[in-house]
């Protein structure tokens, strides 16, 4: 089995740098699960990386660590040059807010907030004043083709529209990294493609993306695919230039049909 050494050379200007990361969960007194067993991975600025692997391979654990939601048992996780393991819960919350934008499979929008308020929500915790937040939100919603849905509640939006709101929200704080966890998992194929084209556009605009998926077709939107198995990196596959519906991320086309 290879480890991540083959890409370690790029850590210089990396947005995310994992070094020999291990994560063990203690299930019971004597059952210990090695979720990650020595993973080193580096995401250069502007890169587009997909992580694939069967369930139990450590995908979710990796995502939680990179997202600053969890801390490693050993090894180092650095986001935008900040080492996460030494940080307090409050400091990690700050890193999550400012450096990471989450896109979840189940959208995870705040149900009682409008689309624009959802997009602006991360900025609430960064002390940005309301007028500025709402301006930024409308700008981002326009970018994902939802300029006319700013006042809608999540339950008034289709799955695809919700996911685009979530992508806009992920970008609100101008994060170093966008983390997408099965972003097409809860929408049909056609809508999924539209969501992916928006995400592609986000990468084209210079954002670093880490995409977790179990669908090869979706993973191929990235530049490279990291294959995880049993908590280790099995293979890093370069997929630059593999066919992807080259749509420069302008979601204009998806707007009218937006529904599932």
């Amino acid at each position: 089995m290879t480890d991540g050494a083959q890409i370690a050379g790029e850590t210089g200007d990396a947005v995310v740098a994992l070094t020999d990361v291990e994560k063990r969960y203690r299930r019971t007194e004597d059952v210990v699960v090695d979720a990650l067993a020595g993973v080193s991975l580096s995401l250069p600025e502007g890169s587009y990386t997909a992580v694939m692997g069967p369930s139990g391979s450590g995908k979710s654990t990796l995502l939680n660590l990179v997202g600053g939601l969890d801390t490693p048992t050993s090894g180092s996780v650095a986001i935008a040059g900040t080492e996460l393991s030494g940080l307090s819960e409050a400091e990690r919350a700050r890193v999550r807010g400012e450096e990471i934008g989450f896109v979840f499979q189940t959208f995870n929008l705040m149900p009682r907030l409008s689309a624009a308020e959802n997009v602006a929500f991360p900025l609430v915790f960064q002390g940005v004043d309301r007028a500025e937040r709402m301006d930024r939100a409308e700008e981002l919603l326009a970018d994902v083709g939802l300029a006319d849905r700013t006042d809608h509640r999540p339950n008034e939006l289709s799955g695809g529209q919700r996911q685009r709101v979530a992508i806009a929200r992920a970008l609100a704080g101008d994060p170093a990294l966008v983390l997408a966890d099965e972003p097409t998992g809860n929408v049909d194929t056609e809508t999924g493609d539209r969501v992916m084209s928006v995400l592609d556009g986000v990468n084209d605009a210079g954002n670093t993306i880490l995409l977790v998926t179990h669908e090869r077709r979706i993973a191929e939107h990235a530049d490279r695919i990291v294959h995880l198995r049993d908590g280790r990196i099995q293979e890093v596959e370069d997929v630059t230039g593999v066919e992807t519906g080259e749509n420069t991320g302008n979601a204009e086309g998806g707007d009218s049909a937006g529904g599932d």
Partner: protein
């Protein structure tokens, strides 16, 4: 996270479950309203009682023989003889001495209307020296006359008026026809508080109707004996007169007639006011204590609903944490929500309580006295109740693991 946004989010969460929030607020509302009602009523009662120590009775010294441990509140025993009245009258600074006896009656009739009554007050014309008469004048001793207060005069089917004849049925079935000599306002200084004058009262002359007699130890002859004596003092030295009256107690028949376990007491209106004020405020405190229990129940309601809310919104908490909310910001949000519920309950509870307090004072026939300090306290309590009740749920919310929360369905 700015406070405006915290308020906005909390307010929205409260509005999202209107009925649930309304019921929770109702719990606090009832608690605060109950406290405010009883406090308002208590304050009104106290102000009324104290305020109505009528100027006319401020210079009265009341004498009774009461049981040791009951103080002035106990029922008096008839111990003051005619000789004692003379003794008290000769004390320096005493203007008049008014005896009061209780005459047992079973009924009083006017024309064809008979009402049951248990007692009439036997006294002397001096009792009315500073009383306002609505009509007529005091009775005279040795005459078959009666004085009624307004309430008593009105209790007949056709109002009794001066010159009418009323028939008093005494214990044993004997009847006496008495002419109404006068109708008074209030209670003729029977007690120093006009509030109690709203009861119906019937006054008759001691002579000839009052016939509770005892062998006077000093005179060696039978004399009328009274349970209560009012010594009307020179207004300038009421306190001094009380002490002097107490000084002559040993010389009186009363001192010999007083049964074991009883003692002679001399009290001024002020003493009585203090005593009654104390009783009223104790009662108020007791009832308010019960109302506070209602408030605690309301607080439990808030805690309960906030715990439900935290569970329901686990995923929202996860989202908040994922987008950069710190634990204390999550906690602040839930705490604000709980405090808002408490403040809302308090803000609505105070006017409701004042209204109920007003209704109670109307019912009791006393004037409304507000206790504004308590309103401020009620709001503070609302905030405190919300905060205390919300503390644990908010802490639970802050401790939610975002990884679990985001997977929460």
């Amino acid at each position: 996270m700015d406070f405006g946004e915290t308020l906005r989010l909390s307010g929205r969460a409260i509005r999202a479950h209107k009925l649930r929030s309304a019921l929770t607020v109702l719990g606090i509302l009832i608690g605060i309203a109950a406290v405010v009602t009883f406090v308002t009523f208590g304050a009104s009662l106290q102000a009324d009682v104290v305020g109505q120590i009528s100027e006319t009775s401020a210079n009265n010294v009341y004498l009774v023989a009461a049981e040791d441990d009951e103080g002035f509140a106990g029922a008096g025993r008839p111990v003051f003889t005619e000789s004692d009245l003379t003794t008290f009258a000769s004390v320096e600074g005493v203007d008049r001495v008014v005896p009061r006896g209780v005459l047992s009656v079973t009924a009083i009739s006017h024309r064809n209307d008979t009402i049951a009554r248990t007692r009439a007050t036997a006294t002397t014309p001096d009792a009315f020296a500073s009383t306002t008469f609505a009509a007529g004048e005091p009775f005279e001793l040795e005459r078959e006359e009666v004085v009624l207060n307004r309430r008593a005069a009105r209790s007949f089917e056709t109002n009794a008026s001066v010159g009418d004849t009323v028939t008093l049925t005494l214990g044993g079935g004997r009847t006496r026809n008495l002419t109404v000599a006068g109708i008074i306002e209030g209670s003729a200084g029977q007690v120093p508080f006009d509030a109690f004058g709203s009861q119906a009262r019937v006054f008759v002359p001691t002579d000839p109707l009052y016939n509770t007699v005892v062998e006077s130890p000093s005179a060696g002859a039978p004399q009328r004996v009274y349970p209560q004596v009012t010594v009307v003092a020179d207004p300038a030295e009421t306190g001094a007169v009380r002490e002097r009256v107490e000084g002559v107690f040993p010389e009186t028949d009363a001192a010999q007639l007083v049964p074991d376990g009883f003692e002679l007491l001399a009290r001024t209106s002020g003493d009585l006011a203090d005593q009654i004020e104390e009783i009223v405020s104790q009662l108020t405190r007791f009832v308010t204590g019960i109302a506070v229990i209602a408030l605690i129940v309301g607080a439990v309601g808030i805690a309960n609903i906030m715990l439900v809310s935290v569970t329901e919104r686990t995923r929202e908490i996860g989202i908040m944490k994922a987008v950069g909310a710190r634990n204390r910001e999550v906690m602040g949000l839930f705490l604000t929500e709980a405090v808002l519920l408490g403040v809302l309950g308090a803000a609505l509870g105070v006017p409701v309580g004042v209204l109920a307090g007003w209704a109670a004072t109307q019912y009791a026939g006393i004037s409304l006295t507000l206790a504004p300090g308590w309103f401020v306290l009620a709001v503070v309590v609302g905030v405190a109740v919300g905060a205390v009740a919300g503390l644990y749920p908010a802490w639970r919310a802050a401790r939610v693991d975002p990884i679990e929360a985001l997977r929460y369905e």
